[in-house]
Symmetry: C2
Subunit: 671 residues, 2 copies
């Protein structure tokens, strides 16, 4: 039975207002979503189906066995080429960064330990060697890394320092005599912690440490640098290194996270990944980037792909949950409603539509926004010449999208679990693993709140030249030193607000005259909010610091506004991506369907913050109520399309599991 | 170091407005929270400390072993008397229902498989025999149940019927010849599902089934009744019963959930739990309650204690998470802020205060509201005579508090996990288990959305005599048949709105003139919202059905308003409980501290729905912004008290685990 057949009659026929329910061509939507990388995504789907058993193994194996199993799957998948898409072809890679993101995202449909181990090995570890190293490092390691012959880890985070990486405690001191670095962990707060691949499998590690040069009195510190270091030889931890298992985790137990201490480990001078700085044999420090902060952030910036990938993974994990919950909601009946003696399917309840369908629309929105970020990543990293401004914009956008995408995953998976009732609590459905495994997404690869502060810093300083050298307090002082209007006028959104308003009827009264379904109205609202919030933060910082208050105390008080502004900025980018994509479609049912989703996303986003719009004079109480009614009406229109819209995600049936929820027969997943 | 010492100077000294930061006497707050059952709660705390190892076993044992371990702990705890508080003393119980709720709630500080197994055995299974059976059943079973010698299960839910229990498919047909009931599972949708204790340990089951009497043509169905049935003999499943393990679950894997099929199982006539209906040997059906729907809901109503207990458990699980996150937030430093060269502790960041402190205030609010519900439960069930109205009010209140308390648990645990960053992801902290184990609380013992519909039904019909006989559509039709004013005027909140307004300055302009910190203003706001929402639902139902629309379609469209009204009602009751409790305190620091929390709870509750208040003319945009500023100011005032306020929950250090987060030394949990 299709969703259309189950929908109440009124939804599928022509309504009084001339609205005709569109037919969704599932494959056409999937072509749109898969974008230029359909082939890559299908390769990953094939791999996922082949290894679908790993989802069951996650439940049934001991942790030790499951770690080995995940390693096997990762290495096997590496053989298909899907995990090496982003590496140069000369080392066995695919030479296509966009493809590597598409592959990684799609991998998130399956077991997430596999995903994260792939991310650690090829994204973080391999990526660091590629981005921070030079040809000798590439020649020495990349072919083995890409093939999965050499496993490695990315030893950045320390117990005492997660978000504030510049304050790491591990030290690498250059010994001129021996022409070696001596790596040491000064205290337990400086041990490397939560490091994926460290507890069991990594032979090599990229270690981030403070680089010191010179004798005791004349010692000079040059900030955090990365070194490629052997931590295991034939599976045994080498002398000078101590490793401890982090033990069981909420999820992702197929990944061997560990702690590492260095006890004066000696590594050759060439261990320094020296793309951005080198130490000559005689101990001279040379870098093309003079400023230490700027150098540090430039190095970190090359690792942005990790954030792009985690954001995409979160969005795709949400798709799995939605696919199960929506399909269940058109099968499950509970309580009599419209038809006598027959219970009503869940998705015909208004509340159930409200719970699931705005999340479905938002998943489409985030998918399309993520496609833009991935495209920018591809461009920035495929270009020969460095475009500093494009790089900063990308870093900011990746940070914002990662935050929104991963929070969306947490929220969507939880809502979908609850929407499947007690049945959703069984592990044979995907929710148990999805919840447990994705939980850390909001705080790894950058804590979401810290990432949004980074976004805000960019907005407020207009990515000024000195942008990368500022910490939060530096940013607060910088902004306080400018006129509020200057801060606002320098933002990209400032011009956009004006241009979109000119397209709307009503002049200054655009917010009252324009139709709720006019995308220019929707964009104008989000742009107005962003601009106003940036101005508000600038005003508050200026006021507090101008009155001589302690900048730290002022920042602490304004922090929620700072984060709200960053969120508003990212929400605006997400909606722009959705609007632009639907605008590009030819007229027809596909466009009608995507427009419905886009409207639902836009209006439910405005609705969620309608208090703010009312407080700031951009939404009357009457219009606010009309907006809520429109969201409900859009839910009813999307409802008959819902199953097709989740099917278009292309999550293979084999990885959905959920035999009871989805009514698979004994012979396997048959619809 | 105490929290006070770590707080910024400005917070602890006298401020310009004469505000003096109170000192919190942790023990005095704990006396207040523990209430009349401090002794019982301390008994449970002692049990929890003694069995703290079970938290580690949950991680390290196989599922089969852990189930046995949990069984052992439950039986051992039964020996201390803490699990039998609610049973009559003649069967070894404590004869004190309030004490049994207090004991159960406190048990939620520890491993939640133990909690849920206690709930299944003593609450659901034992409770059903106590409430639905008569003296012969009590004499036959209760002493063994209370002592934990006979384990049982509560076989109500079926695969096809979770929320709509009246539509269960299992049938018990009376065979006059044999004077036996024949229990049968007609199809797989009617198998009993997710039944705790069923997969391994239950010897007996209370089975809910449609009671049929008579031969094929003349067969009469009397609705759902409960039977006490042996399903295992010496650990072996008996003939006529088939049991299947539900397999691994998201959490609570120490509880053996299973499915049960009955294949014509014959049980004696006396197996019927016959407090509300009996079948004579010759097959006559007798009941003091004529109406079948009313009888069914009366029977179900006696089981309300389960909901009260789950709500309390959710609130107490949230306390564990908050205790860890708040203590961590005054130890962990990240980024330089107020002091040069020293990073700032997390809880001095405005955003971190915003994330944790309103949740802390809400936990206090829900705790005190829960105490009222538990008190009403105690009164209703300790009374000799039946007070039908009090019973209905209790059922409604228990449903609403359970929904809010369990959603609060899900949200709070998630926020606390994220507030502990990647470190919070390790299982050695409590978050992994807390998240996984509490996840089902929102959908078991009544799905939260369904429970809120029940609350709304009571509100909208004023618990009319025919209240229990109505399903959702019956309710919709009933309300549509009344004048909107009639619906509103009959509600309890109607008079309350007027009475509290009279206490406020400004007359009709009370919402503009009264101070934000005036509890009468806060109460007036929540009461106004509730009254207005009830009227709005009535108006919408009346309008739609009056225009001849299908009542099912109308209900579906109005459903989110129905649920919002129920939520508003419950929020009002929660705030009333908090305000009443603080009002009863003598002047002094304790009162000042509790007033701060109460204000923070009240204003953040209003703030969360400030859009609604603006839409309905009760909050100007200026006042709305002032309200947000006041919430921020309250957070800053509560911040120096936060550690003391979580310490007052009295969660034993031994069950907090979290050695790294809390900085325990090797010798154990030392502060």
């Amino acid at each position: 039975m299709t969703a259309q057949e189950q929908a109440p009659e009124a939804e599928t026929t022509t309504e009084a207002d001339g609205y005709r329910q569109p037919d969704v061509d599932v494959d056409a939507v999937r072509v749109l979503l898969d974008g230029p990388y359909r082939e890559v995504r299908d390769l990953v789907r094939t791999d996922l189906v082949e290894h679908a058993q790993v989802l069951l193994d996650a439940e049934q194996m001991t942790t030790a066995d499951f770690r080995e199993r995940v390693l096997d799957v990762v290495v096997t998948m590496a053989g298909t080429g899907q995990t090496g898409m982003g590496f140069p072809e000369e080392y066995g890679g695919g030479g296509d960064i966009g493809a590597s993101v598409a592959a990684f995202e799609t991998l998130a449909f399956g077991d997430l330990s596999v995903l994260v181990k792939v991310g650690v090995q090829f994204g973080l570890f391999g990526g660091a060697i590629l981005q921070l190293g030079t040809k000798p490092h590439h020649d020495a390691h990349l072919a083995d890394v890409v093939a999965g012959r050499t496993m490695g880890c990315f030893a950045m985070t320390e117990t005492g320092h997660g978000s504030n990486v510049q304050a790491l405690g591990t030290v690498a001191t250059y010994d001129v005599e021996a022409q070696e670095f001596v790596i040491a962990t000064p205290d337990d707060a400086s041990r490397k912690d939560y490091i994926g691949n460290a507890a069991a499998h990594a032979e090599l590690a990229v270690v981030f440490a403070q680089l010191d040069i010179g004798e005791a009195e004349a010692r000079e510190r040059h900030g955090v640098h990365a070194f490629v270091v052997r931590i295991r030889e034939d599976g045994q931890v080498v002398d000078g290194v101590r490793v401890e298992d982090c033990g069981p985790k909420t999820g992702l137990n197929g990944v061997d996270n560990g702690r590492i201490w260095f006890d004066g480990l000696r590594v050759p001078r060439t261990a320094l990944l020296d793309r951005f700085a080198e130490v000559t044999p005689e101990g001279r420090y040379l870098s093309p980037i003079d400023n230490a902060d700027k150098r540090f952030f430039t190095m970190l910036g090359t690792l942005v792909q990790g954030r792009v990938c985690v954001g995409g993974a979160g969005i795709n994990a949400a798709k799995v949950a939605l696919t199960i919950a929506v399909r269940y909601a058109v099968r499950r009946r509970q309580f009599e409603a419209t038809e006598p003696d027959r219970e009503q399917v869940l998705l015909d309840y208004g509340m159930h539509q409200r719970r699931l369908l705005p999340l479905l629309a938002r998943t489409y929105a985030l998918h399309l926004a993520q496609e833009v970020v991935a495209g920018q990543l591809h461009d920035v990293f495929s270009r020969e010449e460095d475009d500093e401004h494009a790089r900063r914009m990308l870093e900011s956008r990746a940070a914002g999208t990662k935050a929104l995408g991963t929070w969306h995953a947490t929220r969507t998976i939880q809502e979908c679990r609850e929407a499947c009732g007690g049945a959703g609590y069984l592990s044979e459905n995907r929710f148990a693993a999805l919840k447990a495994d994705t939980d850390v997404f909001t705080t790894f690869e950058g804590d979401n709140h810290v990432l949004l502060q980074l976004v805000a810093k960019g907005l407020l300083t207009d990515y000024a030249g000195e942008f990368e050298e500022m910490d939060q307090l530096g940013m607060a002082r910088f902004v306080a030193g400018l006129a509020v209007d200057t801060v606002v006028e320098r933002t990209a959104v400032h011009k956009l607000v004006q241009s979109v308003r000119d397209l709307l009827p009503g002049g200054e009264r655009w917010d009252q005259e324009a139709g709720l379904l006019d995308p220019n109205y929707q964009l104008a609202m989000l742009r107005f909010r962003e601009e106003h919030m940036i101005g508000g933060v600038a005003r508050r910082l200026k006021h507090g610091i101008g009155q001589g208050e302690d900048p730290g105390a002022v920042f602490s008080r304004v922090q929620d506004h700072v984060i709200a502004a960053a969120r508003a900025h990212t929400e605006r980018l997400v909606l722009e991506a959705f609007v632009a994509r639907t605008a590009s479609l030819p007229d027809g049912d596909l466009k009608v369907a995507l427009d419905l989703l886009c409207d639902l996303h836009a209006l439910s986003t405005i609705e969620a913050d309608r208090a703010w719009f009312m407080e700031h004079g951009r939404l009357s109480s009457t219009r606010s109520k009309a907006l809520t009614r429109e969201v409900n009406a859009l839910c009813r229109k999307v409802r008959p399309l819902a199953v097709d819209l989740v099917d278009a995600f292309g999550v293979p049936d084999e990885v959905l599991r959920s035999p009871e929820l989805l009514g698979w027969t004994d012979t396997g997943p048959v619809r």
